[in-house]
Every structure is written in C-alpha cells, then in structure tokens.
C-alpha cells in the first residue's frame, strides 16, 4: 500500500492533488464529471472585497504548450462567495483553500478576515495576479510589500496562510524568505508568467488586456527551478503548480521540493484530469521506488 496522504498546515489530504485557483471555479461545474470528495483539497477562485467583472474579452489565447489568460479576477466579491458559492462545497469531504486577492492591504485583510470565519480550511494569498491594473503585481514583486501583506493577513486570520508567489521576479528566494519571516505557513508556487500574443491579422494583442498570464507545460521548467531553489533556502511547505499533466510531472514536483501539487489549466484540456491523476499516482510512485508521497518530497536534494 502506497501512502498518498499529506498533512499540511490546516489541510489533511488523502492525496497531494488539488485543482489550482481559477481553473476550477467553485467546483460546481466539475462535480458533473466526478465526485469532488476524491480530491486531496480544492483551491477555489480568487475572492476580492467587492464583486469584479474582470477584463474585456478575449480573455484567453493559445500558445505553444500553454495558454494566456487575463480573466482579471472576476468574482462575486467575498460576501457573494461565502453566501452563494461555498455552501455547495461544504458537504464534500475535501479541505477547501480559499484564494484571496486585492488591490490594497486593507482589501487583503478584509477578504482574509471574512473567509477565515467562513468554514474554509486555509487561505492562499494571491499576491501575484498579473492581470489586474492596480495592486496584485507589486505585492508579489516587492519583498517588503509581500512581507507586509502576509503580516496583515496573519494578524486577522486564524487559518493557515499560504502565499502564492509570482514567477515574474528576479529573486524568488528573496520573496519566499520575506513571507516566511512575516509568518506564512506555506507557499504556493507558481502563478503565471506574464506573456503576450499578437494576432498578425488584426495586428493587435489577442487578449483584450494586452498581456496575460502564461500557464501550462510551457512554464513547468521555470516552476521546478523556482521550487528547487526555494526548498533549499526556506523552511515552509510548498504547493507546487505549473503545467502538471501527468503523474510523472507530479513526481518531478515532489522531488523538487513540493509537498503537494495543484492542477491548473490541464482541467480545461481534460475535465477528469484530477480524478485520473489521483487514480494513477500510487502506481507511478511505486514505479519510481517510493512507498509514500512524503518519501519523494525534496528527493532531488539528497
């Protein structure tokens, strides 16, 4: 028997596999495809203080082995999420991680505080959303601001706090250390790389917002590199993500130093992907000589 359980601050998981924020809505649509109780955990779409419509369309574009998105944090606002979206998820036997976004320190605090009392199991603080004009980005690229937002959120929240880091930085380790010092309980790595595609027919960026976040297998080597670097320097558990499509990918993430993984845009290619990966993981771990998920974590560093 392969032990796939993972215990992270606030989230005790049957397996290390969860959908990534923004790629799974609030779960409802995917519940048509399989029982969400199978999931190790579930990370829901970002909540902000007020409801947001987000960016103009087109909001997505295809790239080689990936896609760009600029949804722009569309969401019904934290109160709407708590009232209308979370109740659907509570009956499932799956820990819920709520993703928190904002444009100001106050907004982060407000959203975190409200979600802390909502019944979710942990918070993921999105200090790295590249698709909104103000806020978001700077919090994720300036270690002092990242420290500050972590500190504030920790102050108002009794739940474990995972900080979601942006890859669009010179020094990912510096960012990770800053949020560790501020008391973060874990890290989520990575958010999307900022990219653009231009349509030669229209001569304009395909995405209405011009730039979008690059996700998918294209970014996996960047994510693996960053997780490998941060694992060596920072003592926090890492939820790894970026281009995961196979259980071999998952093992690669574990070896780099992730304790669990999130599946993002692959859910669009195959709505059953999380279920299928959960099913296959034990066999893959065994194939590579592991008896448990824990055994594999950080394996590339020994």
């Amino acid at each position: 028997m392969i032990d796939t359980t993972v215990k992270l601050p606030g989230i005790h998981m049957k397996n290390p596999i969860m959908p990534a924020s923004g790629c799974f809505g609030f779960g409802k649509e995917f519940s048509q495809f399989y029982d969400l109780s199978l999931l190790g955990a579930i990370i829901i779409k970002a909540s902000t203080g007020e409801r947001r419509f987000g960016n103009q369309t087109p909001r997505v574009a295809e790239t080689s082995s990936g896609m760009l998105n600029a949804i722009g944090l569309q969401n019904p606002g934290v109160d709407g999420v708590i009232a209308d979206e979370l109740p659907f998820l509570y009956p499932y036997k799956t820990p819920i991680i709520a993703n928190v976004a904002g444009s100001t320190l106050e907004e982060y605090s407000l959203v975190a505080e409200k979600l802390s009392k909502s019944g979710v199991h942990a918070l993921e603080i999105n200090i790295s959303c590249p698709n909104v004009k103000e806020g978001g980005v700077q919090f994720g690229t300036d270690p002092e601001l990242a420290y500050e937002v972590t500190k504030q959120v920790k102050k108002v929240s009794s739940l474990p706090v995972y900080i979601k880091l942006s890859p669009n930085v010179t020094d990912i380790v510096g960012l990770a250390k800053a949020v560790e010092k501020a008391g973060a309980d874990g890290l989520s790595m990575i958010n999307t790389l900022t990219g653009m595609r231009i349509d030669p027919h229209t001569r304009k960026p395909i995405i209405a917002n011009q730039t979008g976040g690059l996700s998918g297998p294209a970014i996996k080597p960047v994510a693996i590199r960053m997780i490998h670097q941060v694992y060596q320097e920072v003592d926090l558990p890492i939820i790894g993500m970026g281009g995961i499509e196979t259980t071999d990918d998952i093992v690669e993430y574990l070896l780099a130093g992730a304790s669990a993984v999130a599946i993002g845009s692959a859910n669009f290619k195959n709505p059953n992907i999380c279920k299928e990966l959960i099913h296959e993981l034990p066999e893959t771990l065994q194939k590579f000589g592991f008896n448990s998920v824990k055994e594999a974590v950080g394996g590339a560093h020994h």
Binding site: F24, K28, E29, F53, G54, P58, R59, V60, N69, P271
Partner: protein, 253 residues
Amino acid sequence: MLREWMTIVTHQQIAHQTYLLELQGEIAGLVDNPGQFVHLQISEQYFLRRPVSIADVSPIKGTITLLYKVMGEGTEALTKKGAGEKIDVVGPGGKGFPMDEINSKKALLIGGGIGIPPLYYLAKELTAKGIEVVSVLGFRSENDLFYLEEFKSLGEVHITTNDGSVGTQGFVTDALPALDTIETYFTCGPTVMLKNVKEKLDGIPGYISIEERMGCGIGACFACVLETPGGCGKGYVKVCSDGPVFRPEEVIL
C-alpha cells in the same frame, strides 16, 4: 456532460474549406437542444479545445454531425483525421435554443458562415414541431455554399454572398424577407452580424447564438463572459454554460 473519445464515422469536404464530421459516441444521446456545442481536442499540439456547434443529431446511429470551416491551425489539423480514428470530445456544452419555450407559427433563421451549422438542427426541430421556417444564409462566395439543399427541404431559403456570386450581394441583413408574419427569429454568426440583425429585427422576439474564445467550455474559468445590460442578474453571463444562445435583450454585444 461527458468527456469521451468519439469515433469518426464520416469526414468529408463539402465546400471550400468546409468539412462535415460525423462522430459516434454517448454524447450523441445527451444532446438536449439545437444550439449546443462540443469542445474538440484536436491533438496534443493544441492546448485549448475548439468549440464546434452540433449541426445535427442522429439518435438511431448514435452520432452527431459537425460542420466546420478551416479558420486557423487547429481546424486545419482537424481535416487530417480520417474515418475510424477517435477524437477527444467534451460535450454537449451549453444550453442551446430552448425548444420547450418556443411556440410560434413562423420562424426566421439567420445564419452567417460558421454560424449556419447549428441552425440546421434547429430548423429540423422547429419543422418537427410544426413551425414554418424561413432561412437567410450568408456566405462569402459561391464556393463556400453548403447544406443548401438540406435547408431548402425544410422551408424557404434566401442566400447572400459577399461577392454576389450567388443570391443577393451583401450581408444577411440585405436579404431579409417580409417580417410581418415572423413570430420569432434565431440567429448565429459573427458578432458584427448579430448586432445588425438585433437592430433590424428589434421588436420581434429572438434568440442569438454567440461565439467567444473559450478556456474550459464548461463554465468554470470565466473566459467567455458577456456583460448584461444594466448589470442584470449577476451582471454577466457565460457564453459556454449560460449560452451560447441568449435573448438579444439579455446581453451587451
């Protein structure tokens, strides 16, 4: 909704850059209404799926028919697949035209280019309900014409082409029939056409089917949203799951 590997039963060119693809699988049994679509994974090389309308359903054969035009790399690659091969499909997606609530004597169908396919299945279902159907179909040019006979077998058909090579030269809005007996209209095509149709047919109850770039195709990613007038409802709708068919007054085009 399902994800399954459907079997290609027929795949043939039917007009300039236009193909008919007949697929067999369980999804065929799940189609509720005309106007729904399937989301095709062309191959591992194309990251996003491609939405294509269901143009016909054969409950007996357990197949759906798609009619698609080569518009870019993905549809170009799709043409290479042969009968007998399998293709990865998610569907049926969206809500389609709400057949239950439609109750007219005469319906006007207005389709432009790749907006025409879903109207064929719609026309079949409408005539089956005893509703008279008049179609206005717009093509680029004579070579692009497809499914003309099929539409004609269901009712009156008016054709337009951009270059005037057949039918009326111009756009679908240049060849509208007398509107006095029309009780409902149904339209599908490029957004600029939908806008014109909506304006010209203002006052007549209608349904419009909208194209938008999609991520998930199932309502989870918020890639395909449209704003609603005055922020009605949630302030937005999702084309893939709330649509692709809407009432013209429900959305801002």
